[in-house]
Each structure stands twice: as structure tokens, then as C-alpha cells.
């Protein structure tokens, strides 16, 4: 039986099939590698773990999350408010970009990692108000240094949670699965 299979594979058509299979595998692999790219370089290797470790609440630095659509990146004034009182700021290599940025009054250029596509209208406020915790979507920041996103924010991720939250409440489910709730 196995011999027959091998014989068949040696046929021209078999060879084509093998070729197609190999190509498919190769492209899948290439896609996978591409998919799991490294996180982009950030201006400061910001240690979330340290800050969360000090007991700083997420909303302290990202207050927009409770009030509006965007959580926001803290102003450098906010960073500096603490850091200019910390001696380490003067010497730490890690903090040099911050110091330089504050002194030269040029903003740091952060690369956002938690993004939704541009055709999705996301509002943090509604989610926080609905009792969602930051880590439900952004992962446990007490274990991360430079922010990385634990999952791709695709529609399946959103919808799975929306379905769960709506439960048996039909009206809510209609609202939370309506295309127009996020796409306009």
C-alpha cells in the first residue's frame, strides 16, 4: 500500500502535488514568521513591571481610558513629576531619553502596540464603565517591561467578549454585535 503511494508520488502528477504541498508549507512558515514579528523599538525601554510593582494604577498614567475613547500616553510632565525627584533619573541610562526629551522639550515618539485597525471605532470609556479591567485586553503588565500586546485585536477577539458579556440579554447582544457599533 505504502509502496503504491510512493509509486504514485513519482508520477508527474504526484510530483506536482508534492510541489504544491511544499510551497504551501513554505508560505505558511513565512507567514508565521512574519506574523510573530518582534515588537517595534521604543524610545525608552519602559519597565511596566517596575511601575506596576510600585502600585501605580493604570489610570494614573493613562487617565483617558476612564473618560474617553483613547487611554493616551502620559505627558512627559507627568513622567517628570515623579522622576525629577528621583536621583536615579540623573544617572540611569534607561532614563536618559526621558531626561533629554524633557530638557529639549521634544516629545518622545512612542510606537503604539495595542491598536485596532483604522476602520474600527473603539472607545475605552464604555469598556471601563462596563467593568472591564485593563488586563482583560492588554494582559498583565506587572510581568512585562516594554509593552507588548498579548493578542491581536481582531474582530473575533472583540466579538467573543461581547457575546460573553451580553449573555442572555438579547437587547444587549443586538447592540454589542451590531456592525454599526464599531464600524462607521
Amino acid at each position: 500500500m505504502i509502496k503504491r503511494l510512493f509509486d504514485w508520488l513519482k508520477q508527474p502528477l504526484g510530483l506536482i502535488a508534492v510541489g504544491i504541498a511544499l510551497l504551501t508549507l513554505f508560505s505558511l512558515a513565512a507567514y508565521g514568521i512574519n506574523y510573530t514579528q518582534q515588537a517595534p523599538a521604543q524610545p525608552v525601554q519602559f519597565p511596566h513591571t517596575t511601575h506596576v510593582g510600585f502600585g501605580i494604577q493604570c489610570l494614573y498614567c493613562h487617565p483617558g481610558a476612564a473618560k474617553g475613547p483613547a487611554a493616551g500616553i502620559p505627558t512627559e510632565a507627568k513622567c517628570w513629576g515623579c522622576h525629577n525627584q528621583i536621583a536615579k533619573t540623573e544617572t540611569s541610562l534607561l532614563l536618559a531619553p526621558l531626561k533629554q526629551s524633557v530638557e529639549s522639550r521634544t516629545p518622545l515618539e512612542w510606537v503604539p502596540v495595542a491598536q485596532v485597525p483604522d476602520f474600527v471605532q473603539f472607545n475605552h470609556r464604555a469598556h471601563i464603565a462596563a467593568g472591564q479591567n485593563c488586563e482583560n485586553c492588554h494582559g498583565d503588565m506587572s510581568k512585562l517591561t516594554v509593552a507588548e500586546n498579548p493578542q491581536v485585536f481582531n474582530m473575533g477577539f472583540c466579538l467573543a467578549c461581547h457575546k460573553k458579556v451580553a449573555g442572555e440579554n438579547h437587547e444587549l447582544l443586538v447592540k454589542l454585535t451590531d456592525c454599526g457599533t464599531c464600524h462607521y
Binding site: 457575546k163 454585535t177 451590531d178
Partner: protein, 185 residues
């Protein structure tokens, strides 16, 4: 259709191919072979046009194609039914378009029809492949004369009586009788 007979199982046997110029001698040869003790499933006829079994007095060929077609159409129908009756409800809340029902009436018929036909035709096609062991490149040549209108009879006989069969076939008008490399009938 004769079962697959591999050479290992039939050591001591030989496959012979007799080429006849026309249908009548071929039919006679088949009768002769049966008389010589070759059963119907040990012989086969190769022709360049579809020759009906009755013309050569051969038993009816068993084919699965119609059954496969029927099965395929059922599968296609099921796929269509899945599409029209199930998929609208797979999204958490079925999507409303206009004021049409989630499972619309007449369009259902269209989808069911198309997928049934698709299933049926695809399985018919694949049925030919399955039943005929396609693709299969084992016997690299077949008898070239067959496509010129000759009839070839292929049969398996004991190695020792090869001469006897060759003679008998030649007597009945075979243009040539030779050993053939054939994997299955």
C-alpha cells in the same frame, strides 16, 4: 470490473495480450478463452471506442459512478442546506438585510439547486477517477493499435500453457499475441 490482481499473488501466471482486427474474431476468441478455462474476470477487452458488453458477449461491467453521483448530490444538498439554513445563525445575531427573513424563501431554492448539482457533477467526475484508478501511469504503453480501431483481449493464463493460448488466439485471427505488462485488469 475485475479486482486488482498483483503479480506476486499470481506467480506462475502470465498476462497475454491478443490483438484482433475486428469485433467478430474478438468475440470468438473470448468464447474460446472461456472454453479453455479462463474465467470472465481473468480477461479484459481493450478498445478504441466504447464497445458495449453485449457486442462481445461479456458480462455487464459494474460501475459505481451513478451511485457516487447520487451520494455527491446528497452531500451537495447538505452543503447547500448548511449554507442557507445554518450559516445565517452562526453570527451571534443574524444579520438583517432589508426586511427579508434570515433564511430567505426563494433564494434558498437557488442555493440548494446549485450546490446539489455541483456535488453531483463533482462526484461523478471523481467517480470516474476512483472507479478507473485514475491517475495511473503504470502500464506505460498500451497497445497503440487499439486506438487505430483494433480490439485487444487481455487475459491471464498459467505460464506453462502460454504457447497453447498463443496458438489458439492466432488461429482465431489474432494479429499478434504477446506478453503484456499490466498491473491490473
Amino acid at each position: 470490473m475485475a479486482d486488482n490482481i498483483s503479480r506476486e499473488e499470481h506467480s506462475g501466471q502470465v498476462s497475454l495480450l491478443a490483438v484482433f482486427p475486428d469485433l467478430m474474431p474478438a468475440a470468438d476468441a473470448l468464447d474460446q478463452l472461456r472454453a479453455l478455462g479462463i474465467s470472465d474476470d481473468q480477461m479484459n477487452v481493450i478498445s478504441g471506442i466504447p464497445v458495449t458488453e453485449a457486442m462481445l458477449g461479456r458480462p455487464s461491467q459494474w460501475t459505481n459512478v451513478p451511485r457516487l453521483a447520487a451520494g455527491g448530490s446528497i452531500l451537495g444538498f447538505c452543503a447547500g442546506a448548511f449554507l442557507v439554513f445554518v450559516t445565517p445563525y452562526l453570527y451571534p445575531v443574524p444579520i438583517q438585510v432589508g426586511t427579508q427573513a434570515f433564511v430567505p424563501g426563494p433564494p434558498t431554492v437557488v442555493v440548494l439547486f446549485e450546490l446539489t448539482m455541483l456535488g453531483m457533477l463533482l462526484s461523478t467526475f471523481l467517480g470516474v477517477f476512483l472507479d478507473s484508478y485514475f491517475p495511473n501511469y503504470r502500464p506505460m504503453e498500451y497497445v497503440k493499435e487499439v486506438s487505430d480501431g483494433k480490439i485487444a483481449i487481455f487475459f491471464i493464463c498459467p505460464e506453462e500453457s502460454k504457447e497453447k493460448f498463443t496458438k489458439a488466439m492466432t488461429a482465431l485471427g489474432a494479429e499478434k499475441v504477446e506478453v503484456a505488462e499490466v498491473e491490473h485488469l
